[in-house]
């Protein structure tokens, strides 16, 4: 049953679904797909739009998706609804903003028991910035802990949303689905733009497919696009011939053309995903539009770490794997790097911590590469006395202190929404993380919104986890970069058996250097197995020792019993242990297990 018809722009609605994590965005999407017959019962499975295993496991949407629904409205007309799925995490806020730019409206999903969260507020702001009509939906009203009245009040407190606009739903039970669809048709305006103008299509995502090459997700704002057309992007002069265009149902389905207002995909032999950056505008090479669509910017990574294969022989595989991941992820940055301790690897840049975790997990899971990742860092600006300004993300590259005039680090504005009773703990946490208080307002009598300025470095590691634990999971967080500020920073080096392990060096605020160094050597002592001789562990700043520990020499490793059949098991166990040792990194003569590097990340 292939429906391939174009209706006039009047009957097109482009919308996305925005929600705080776990508020039920993907389940709502599933219900809409089922209700409109876009997927059959047979194809039904949880979170239809989330392809990657990781997405399903973490319950998050990593890449944007777009799917076309055909909806026969109660007004008797047929509508084309384009659902543009967006990532739900702050790391991917640029992708979110581009997806939203392709829409005229958004469903705002709020959990009926959890209520308004930091991302809810951030999402509303984002949607308003993109001039979207917001359709508020309170989801999970079937839960015993649901309190839709409270949540309705919260929504009205933080925004211009009116009570009567809010739809009550339970995606799990299928409640509210038709109300949502009707609201989409009635309240969201049709796309503007004109098929008669020169082509302008907004790229809001792109993926790499091994058979078809780069597939670009677009919304045609003006004009028409058809196979055979010669196109280019606004920021690049390379020209491509359109090989295929189509829509998502949710599988790819080729069609003859996409006209203004429509959402779909383009395949045009793009060599590199970098040539089709999210936010860029596709234009007709023979009749180029004069102006690109607004909002395009190059994404810059915020969080950096080095990634090394545990086994140096895996370097080539790691390189290939990173290249493949980059095909699908233009925000992932990587360049080769050498470490004395770890050999050959890559310095990688990510949008945020979650993005970093996802990439590391995918490398390990999909490409079966055992990794060692160094402590994440931010990009520092180092002003040298000779006037040079360096951008440094790797502690190893920090020049000697006597050459440095000052160092600046990136700061973020953090917006926390929390039950008011947790405020004490949160203030302590922010204080401890060098934060400064900016603003506080009540969302209702029990819920607060706090604004702080903090160094990015202080939130990239475990700030979110700590915040969650202080607030028993209730507080939520959103942040945006506000620029660089000078800081008193120092580089701490770690020496194992008197040998510098460059991969363990880190940059830290002076006031925290001692405490952090202490914790790290203690952790190393716990994790590094005893060796044949005593191993000293030292932390130094500019060769001054600020913390030390000693791993005692191995004294006893012997199995008492070995009779009859024991030898079989015993030999196999020894073989396994030996293989395990081979996977350890050798620093000088010391064998350091992978967990040592991972363990330090948790400090």
């Amino acid at each position: 049953m292939v429906k391939d018809y174009h209706c006039s722009m009047e009957n097109i609605r482009n919308f996305s679904i925005i929600a705080h994590i776990d508020h039920g965005k993907s389940t709502i999407a599933d219900r809409l797909l089922e209700y409109t017959g876009t997927i059959s019962e047979r194809e039904k499975r949880e979170q239809v739009l989330d392809d990657m295993d990781l997405e399903r496991e973490k319950g998050i949407t990593i890449k944007s998706k777009a799917v076309r629904l055909y909806y026969h409205s109660q007004d008797g007309k047929e509508y084309i609804l384009n659902l543009i799925d967006t990532p739900g995490h702050v790391d991917f806020s640029y992708e979110v903003s581009r997806s939203l730019a392709a829409c005229e409206g958004a469903l705002l999903i709020v959990d009926a028991s959890q209520g308004v969260q930091a991302q809810t507020a951030a999402n509303i702001n984002l949607a308003l910035k993109s001039n979207l009509k917001i359709i508020p939906v309170i989801n999970k009203i079937d839960l015993s802990t649901a309190n839709p009245d409270r949540v309705m009040q919260e929504l009205q407190n933080i925004s211009e949303i009116k009570g009567e606009e809010i739809i009550l739903a339970s995606a799990k039970e299928g409640i509210g689905t038709s109300d949502i669809l009707e609201a989409i048709v009635k309240k969201i305006p049709p796309p503007k733009g004109s098929s008669n103008l020169p082509l302008r299509a907004l790229i809001f995502d792109s993926i790499y497919n091994p058979y078809k090459g780069t597939i670009v997700y677009v919304k045609v704002v003006d004009g028409v696009i058809e196979p055979g057309m010669i196109i280019q992007t606004m920021s690049n002069d390379i020209k491509y011939e359109v090989a295929e265009i189509g829509i998502f149902r949710p599988k790819m389905q080729p069609i003859k053309k996409l006209t203004a207002g429509e959402v779909g995909y383009i395949i045009a032999g793009f060599k590199n995903i970098k040539d089709t950056q999210v936010g860029d505008t596709i234009i007709d090479a023979s009749n180029p539009a004069r102006e690109g669509l607004p909002g395009y910017k190059k994404v810059t990574p915020l969080v950096f770490c080095s990634i090394y294969p545990v086994d140096n022989k895996e370097f080539e595989n790691l390189k290939i794997a990173l290249e493949k991941l980059k095909l699908n992820d233009s925000s992932l940055f990587s360049e080769p790097e050498t470490s004395e301790a770890l050999g050959f690897g890559f310095r990688c840049g990510f949008l945020g911590l979650l993005h970093m975790e996802i990439i590391q997990e995918r490398l390990e899971r999909e490409y079966s590469i055992n990794l060692i990742a160094t402590t994440p860092s931010v990009m520092y600006q180092v002003f040298k006395k000779n006037g040079e300004i360096l951008k440094i993300s790797n502690p190893v590259s920090l020049p000697p202190r006597n050459e440095i005039e000052k160092i600046e680090e990136p700061y973020v504005k953090v917006n926390i929404i929390t039950p008011s009773k947790c405020i004490g703990g949160i203030m302590d946490l922010v204080q401890e993380r060098r934060g400064s208080f900016k603003n506080m307002e009540y969302i209702d009598e029990k819920i607060l919104r706090l604004d702080y300025h903090l160094p990015l470095n202080e939130i990239i590691l475990d700030f979110y986890d700590k915040l969650k634990s202080i607030s028993s999971g209730y507080a939520s967080l959103d942040y945006e970069i506000i620029g660089y500020q000078p800081s008193e920073l120092a580089k701490v080096d770690i020496l194992v058996n008197h040998q510098l392990v460059d991969a363990l060096s880190f940059i830290v605020h002076k006031d925290k250097a001692y405490k952090r160094a202490r914790k790290i050597v203690e952790k190393l002592k716990e994790i590094i197995p005893r060796q044949m001789y005593e191993v000293p562990l030292q932390a130094t700043i500019e060769s001054k020792i600020i913390a030390r520990e000693t791993i005692k020499a191995l004294k006893k490793d012997v199995t008492a019993k070995c009779y009859g059949g024991d030898i079989t098991r015993k030999r196999k166990l020894l073989e396994k242990q030996k293989a395990g040792k081979k996977r350890m990194k050798k620093i000088g003569k010391v064998e350091i297990p992978q967990e040592a590097f991972l363990g330090i990340l948790k400090i």
Partner: protein, 378 residues
């Protein structure tokens, strides 16, 4: 072909919380009858195949072999004598738990031809015995020991465990001094190892076991070796100590990587370079013997290299180490040619001692035997 014969008895009165052996609490006497019948069937099946085999040692282990009656044990051994060729000077050992022995039973054991008794004493401290889940107390050990001597056992081993939860060196010294004062012929000293699947393992994971540290364990073991050597015992294998001429001949077969036949549930055999194992579960084992097949579960044919490695790992456990001549005779190649790199490295680390005739562990090497063995495995 010369070989050792092992007979396994998987039943116990109760299962100890640290034990990961193939042993089960006995639920009803019938289990023993069907198990013995199965042993008979397996022995019969082998008697065809091993007509020419000359059995030099017999070892009845468990579980608790002495959970059987004296007559049952007597009959089993008679049956073995019937079906196999057992050397008339064979060392025949039975493991026994104090508390499962009485004068009558001991007499029948002697009459069965058993000439070596291995007593699972474990400790002479009632508090530790209780924590170990043993069914006997210190007095039971002493009673059983003297009763066995009176009945005529001229070769008695005592098993002791150490590095027990909450145990310190003094506790161990007290136990070992008591053991030595009985003048046993042989002592086996096992440090407690926490094995997955045991009750101790679960407690350990929950952080409930206060085990001695590595350093404390080292001190204990160090003291044990010195003390027993001072008292006339030869430390002839990592965990075993013997008075002159009282080494366990059966266990030496294992450490010399020589052939043995294992009968019973979960028993291992090593014959002509093939090592295999019977079904562990007694019910499954019994069922298999009924079909007339050998109750083999799985086995491994060892390559020449694996045989060499195992011979080294096992040989190094003993004071005699691995002799160049024997090695060459057995494998046709020279030990130093094949394992030159490993041997030199370990000698440099001070863990291995190399003489003109053999390699053996140094005192440090004994404590770090696994480090040495890992060097040799692939």
């Amino acid at each position: 072909m010369e070989l050792g014969l092992y007979l396994h008895f998987p039943y116990c009165i109760s299962k100890c919380p640290y034990c990961d052996f193939n042993s089960y609490q006995l639920e009803e006497a019938n289990q023993i009858y069907s198990y013995i019948s199965a042993l008979y069937r397996e022995i019969t099946a082998y008697s065809q195949k091993l007509k020419t085999g000359n059995i030099k040692t017999v070892y009845l282990g468990g579980g608790t072999p002495t959970i059987l009656s004296g007559t049952q044990i007597f009959n089993i051994l008679k049956f073995c004598e019937d079906k196999f060729t057992i050397d008339k000077n064979a060392e025949i050992t039975i493991e026994a738990n104090p508390g499962t022995l009485d004068g009558e039973k001991l007499k029948l054991l002697i009459e069965s031809g058993i000439n070596r008794l291995s007593l699972g004493a474990q400790s002479f401290n009632d508090v530790f015995l209780k924590k170990l889940g043993r069914i006997h107390n210190a007095q039971d050990i002493i009673n059983s020991y003297f009763l066995a001597r009176e009945t005529g056992f001229a070769n008695i081993n005592i098993d002791i465990m150490f590095a027990l939860p909450d145990q310190n060196t003094e506790d161990l010294q007290d136990t070992l001094k008591k053991a030595v004062s009985l003048k046993p012929d042989h002592l086996s000293l096992y440090n407690l190892t926490i094995k997955p699947g045991t009750e101790y393992y679960r407690e350990y994971k929950r952080g409930k076991l206060n085990l001695p540290t590595e350093d404390e364990e080292y001190d204990m073991y160090n003291w044990v070796i010195d003390f027993l050597e001072e008292n006339g015992f030869e430390h002839y294998e990592i965990a075993n100590f013997a008075r002159p001429h009282k080494k366990s001949m059966h266990n030496l077969i294992y450490w010399q990587n020589k052939p043995y036949l294992g009968i019973g549930a979960g028993a291992y055999s090593y014959i002509r370079g093939y090592r295999y194992m019977n079904y562990e579960n007694p019910v499954k084992y019994i069922k298999e013997t009924m079909s007339g097949k050998l109750p083999k579960d799985n086995g491994e044919r060892l390559s020449l290299r694996k045989r060499m490695i195992e011979t080294i790992i096992l040989g190094l456990r003993t004071k005699d180490g691995v002799g160049y001549k024997k090695f060459k005779k057995r494998f046709g190649v020279s030990l130093n040619d094949i394992f030159c790199r490993q041997i030199n490295k370990l000698v440099n680390l001070g863990l291995l001692e190399k003489s003109y005739v053999k390699i053996k562990l140094t005192r440090d090497g004994i404590f770090l035997a696994n480090v040495v063995f890992r060097e040799f495995v692939d």
